[in-house]
Symmetry: C2
Subunit: 159 residues, 2 copies
Amino acid sequence: MATDKSHSPADKPPNFRPALTPGRWDATAVHAYKDEGAAPFKDVTRQVLFADPAMAAEWRYFEVASGGHSTLERHEHVHAVMVHRGRGRCMVGAEIRDIASGDLVYVPAMTWHQFRATSDEPLGFLCLVNAARDKPQLPTAKELAALKRDRTVAAFVRT
Amino acid sequence: MATDKSHSPADKPPNFRPALTPGRWDATAVHAYKDEGAAPFKDVTRQVLFADPAMAAEWRYFEVASGGHSTLERHEHVHAVMVHRGRGRCMVGAEIRDIASGDLVYVPAMTWHQFRATSDEPLGFLCLVNAARDKPQLPTAKELAALKRDRTVAAFVRT
């Protein structure tokens, strides 16, 4: 109906979408991070901010609740990340760093990575990927054992 | 030199780049918005946050000083925008809106657009574009006259 102002997921979103509260936007649905049981993670939501046929990339927003974590994974495609709100820690390869609002993170191809929120604050981050990309890989038991030979990595990762 | 930890523009930036102050990042150069005289604009800087051969898009940050404005232009490529700091107003086609930190803006293909900072605050925004894209077009005198037939547009645009 011409008078219906609601936006179904199939609709093209409006050109202006105000932030409603930190990490929530007008006409932008909040989804489960991944299908239940598809991969290990804890307390993460996913929003697609921009995914347009005219764009070669997708711009997503992930929010990890306090104490939660993203999936430990790697893939051929790269991630360009900016922390949008809160704070946490992030592993990229063997490097583990505190991250907070505004910080930039780059995840190179085939590099194990994981994001964790701190115990008292959510971690919300913007994540840019190519629209055409491969599926994430989870570590095999052997790969995980190899990763955990680094004690700092062993203490950080959640699977 | 192997012991030199500085980053020349040709270097690949480090995987972690902390925000130093709002709108400024470690190992990320601040540039003039456009070449002097190339197009009309006022008090704008440009930073390339991510531009990697493995990425199909570039993620940039523009900051318009208080009272400044971006170029009034259009192009075939689209813009995906998030306001990062401050506030201002934005025109996309015939629509002019107040925008503030966190808000999302989409600029469709061949749509006249311009960003203006308010008189008392800078406007910093993230802008995603395809790596392969066409050059912006400026309005001809005839096109500008046509645009200005809309009084609201006429009052907003700066050229």
